[in-house]
Amino acid sequence: MILRCTLWIVVLFTTLAVDSHAAPPSKLALQGGRIIPVCGPEIPKGTVLIEDGTITAIGETVKIPYDATVIDVSEKVLFPGMISPHASQGLDRPNENLPVTPYLDVYDAIDPSSLFFEDALRDGVLAVHVIQGNNCVLGGLSRLVRPIGRTPDEMTIRPSLALKLSASPKSGSDRMQQMAAFRETFLELAFYLENLAEKRYEEELAKEKKEIDVGPEEARKRGAPLIRKEDLDDRHRNLVQLTEGQLDAWIYCDAATDVGPAINLAKEHGFLDRSIFVLGTEAYRAVQELKKADRPVVLPPDLVHRERDPITGELSETFIPEVIHEAGLLFALQPNPDSSLAERYLNYQAARCVRHGIPRQKALESITLNPARMLGMEDRLGSLEVGKAGYVVVLSGDPLDFNTWVEKAYVDGILAYDRTKDVRLKELLDLEEKSAEKEKQKEQENVESATQEEKQKESPAETKTDEKTGKEGEQDSEEGQKNEEEERDDK
């Protein structure tokens, strides 16, 4: 018996060891950089120590263990990995045609090879909340992933995080249908649970070889606590988890008119305290309702709402984060993948907020700490502090400066991105070849001029006889000298 037990333990341990194949370097010290921890004051020059994928020390003076890999990041900025709070781009298709699909899981549609994840890594987004698109009534399960890994399993930070709901109809549908679908779904759930409770009570009685002895209502009452997890089918299990508190709800509201019904729906079925509201461009107008509900919001990618006065034709614009910030709501920003370029960067979205007068700290939180809070991951992600996971971005400058590049990205303490090895970026910037070519040209010129100088020294008589070549030689040698002088200057 003991032998068998030890065997099992050995097998278990070996499988575990195999599973964690991408073992991070056990100890890693990022030394000498400017640290923006987001959760606290900046450290002008400090060190972050990551042990086994978790930050164990941070500060100006950190005792670095003798066996730690030390990486010099002086003149660089250390920033927590940014979090994309609401993305359906990693999926092969963002929406399912059916309206009510709580049995779906984005797990089945995540494409690890998608360019989206590569871009996310390049842009410093180290955690992506992959969730179904907005064209649904009640969608499937979402998942928090990191943009590295060959399979969805390897990528996963946290599975089955939330259910997607949409209070706004997709095109071709209308708001009455939308709400009717919600009512039908939850009525059907109640009906299903009642039937199941009755069945369970009957089953339990059958075990004791008894026949049902009470009326149906009483049977349902007695049977309700007897329902086990495995009794529920896929469709209803997730709905039960939603109403009972194991799953969050991310509710999309395209327009302001959708916010009220969405809040009522969440209140009615008991998941308002676990609801996150994903807003469309116009929904910010319902800011009072949102403030009353006091729930976090995810702002639309295009942060500006533009409106034409129907009478004068004048165009007015509202910067949405300004309104939300004034109301004191917790908000997170999304990147805008449809933008020409700049709004693709989450840190640029935060910079736009600062431009419109939102405090720097709030803007930085809205791309790191706030989404982490919304995802229930604030104990692991969203800032640089002891005990959190080693999701660190090494930036070339301030995160709100548009000329800043992501130099390196560490995911769970693993070096996941290095700009010097980013082939695609090099091609887009046309970087490497040119500088290499220039160096080659310089070298060649130097070599040529040197050889010609040598020639001149060796055979002055020859150059005198042939005037043309002599002149050329002189010119070249002058150029060579110039090159040499330039080089000296460079040094």
Binding site: T281, R306, G313, S339, L341, A342, R352, L428
Partner: protein, 489 residues
């Protein structure tokens, strides 16, 4: 004085002397009264702008400048200027000033052009949603019919017969060669597109026609705001030609002429070969007509077009060619070589593949926008897939005069952001600024009037909170001809 007059009055009692004296007195008094108003006329204290820094636009900067503006023009710029009395002073703490931005290849919203669309500009979009989403914005949305006539005259023949009276669409669709038409005629000056431009700091645009004709209409150079009579700087600017797939892709009646006679419903070029042929034939027609010969054949351009094209050949009217991919840029260069034409290259997305050829052709380039993956009006063709971040920088490094354009992108996403992109991809601030101010002004031939902040030039200014083109900076104020047109203080 009175005593003096009085004594005279006492001594000499002659009425005509008395009259003279009164006249003298009246003259002196009236002169005394007019002097102050006269001095106001000469150095009218109109406006002084104080800021933390001004970027002149030619590479120079002045710290803590004062910009004096008079009659819509810049009178003086300097840090040690004395301010006249009674002057209106606008002081922006920590603000920096740049010249008004110039987009040398702006595409105006076609839905706002008269009468391009059957739907009014406010009615577009589903469910009466007034917001302008990017999807509703493109100039060449297939849902917005680029039609020739209106409902009463479905063939549009009446319109054509009356010439291009109203500027039917962005580019006239009656022929592939329409350089005798003008974009100006179809510009809706009340369009909110101008408002969106000016909010992004753009003060002058070259309103470029779309690419739906091989040799398209002539553009116009316009101010984006201000009194109507001052908005048009140049009514008839360059002729625009297009090399690429756009003319056959965008033409509204571009059916194949198979089994049909060639009419205005069947336009010819379906390939790059056909397109090049139309271009070449148009110029040959112009030369033949000038020589008194008859132009003939199926694709003969109109005599009006030939007249304009002959002026292009003579170098009196500038030529612009839109070409995106390497092959098309080479074609443009070859065609212009054939007809000894000078031209400006538009878009040039793949310029990085043929920098040497562009250098040799001496053609200036209006590049942009900078993007990685195409969106908007560039999204649905195969010409924009191989864009690179570095192209603009490479053109500058090769010494090609290059300006930046945002084309159909507006506001935050507009021209200022193009400069910001350029800086991210390795261009200096001053070079980026020049590419949206001085360089386009030169290309438009207006560098005597706009493009830099120098005395005598039009007072088109942008005031930024913070460093211009920085992500956290905002356009606070925009001045056109010395008038405030945007004020976000």
């Amino acid at each position: 004085m009175n005593g003096f007059l009085g004594t005279h009055y006492g001594k000499i009692r002659k009425p005509w002397r008395q009259m003279i004296l009164f006249a003298l007195a009246w003259l002196i008094v009236s002169l005394l009264l007019t002097v102050p108003s006269w001095s106001e006329e000469t150095s009218r204290p109109t406006l002084a702008i104080k800021a933390a820094r001004v970027h002149i636009g030619n590479g120079r900067t002045i710290d803590r400048p004062v910009i004096l503006i008079q009659d819509g023009r810049i009178q003086a710029v300097g840090s040690d200027l004395s301010l006249p009395d009674h002057i209106q002073i606008i002081e922006i703490d920590g603000g920096s000033v740049t010249p008004g931005l110039i987009d040398a290849n702006a595409r105006l919203e076609s839905a706002d052009m008269i009468p391009a669309s059957r739907k009014g500009p406010g009615q577009q979009g589903p469910g009466g949603r007034a917001a302008i989403s990017r999807d509703e914005r493109p100039c060449h949305d297939s849902q917005v019919p680029l039609h020739v006539g209106d409902e009463e005259d479905p063939t549009g023949l009446a319109d054509l017969a009356a010439g291009v009276r109203a500027g039917v669409v962005v580019s006239e669709q009656g022929s592939e060669v329409v350089p005798h038409t003008r974009v100006l005629d179809s510009v809706n000056f009340c369009s909110s597109d101008f408002q969106r431009l000016v909010q992004g700091g753009v003060t002058t645009i070259y309103a470029s026609p779309d690419a739906s004709a091989v040799i398209g209409p002539r553009g116009a150079i316009l101010k984006t705001a201000g009194p109507m009579d001052q908005r048009v700087l140049v009514a008839e600017a360059a002729v625009k030609a297009t090399i690429g797939t756009e003319p056959n892709r965008l033409g509204s009646y571009n059916q194949s002429p198979y089994r049909n006679s060639v009419s205005l419903y069947t336009r010819r070029p379906n390939s790059r070969m056909g397109l090049t042929w139309v271009f070449r034939k148009a110029f040959h027609d112009a030369i033949r007509r000038k020589d008194g010969l008859v132009a003939y054949g199926a694709d003969t351009s109109s005599p009006e077009a030939s007249r304009v094209l002959y002026e292009v050949l003579e170098g009196k009217i500038p030529l612009r060619i839109q070409a995106r991919i390497q092959q098309d840029i080479h074609t443009a260069i070859r065609l212009c070589d054939e007809f000894k034409l000078r031209f400006t290259l538009e878009e040039a997305t793949e310029a990085y593949r043929c920098i040497e050829s562009i250098q040799a052709s001496a053609a200036p380039v209006i590049f942009g926008p900078i993007f990685e993956r195409p969106n908007g009006i560039r999204a649905f063709n195969n010409e924009s897939n191989r864009s690179r971040y570095s192209t603009f920088r490479a053109l500058l490094e090769a010494g090609v005069p290059t300006s930046l354009s945002a084309q159909d992108l507006r506001e935050e996403d507009g021209l200022a952001r193009q400069a910001m992109h350029a800086m991210r991809f390795g261009v200096d601030f001053e070079d980026a600024l020049k590419a949206v101010t001085q360089t386009p002004a030169r290309m438009l031939g207006l560098d005597g009037q706009i493009g830099t902040i120098e005395s005598g030039k039009q007072a088109d200014l942008v005031v930024w909170r913070g460093q211009p083109f920085a992500a956290t900076s905002m356009v606070v104020m925009v001045f056109i001809d010395g008038n405030i047109v945007v004020d976000r203080r």
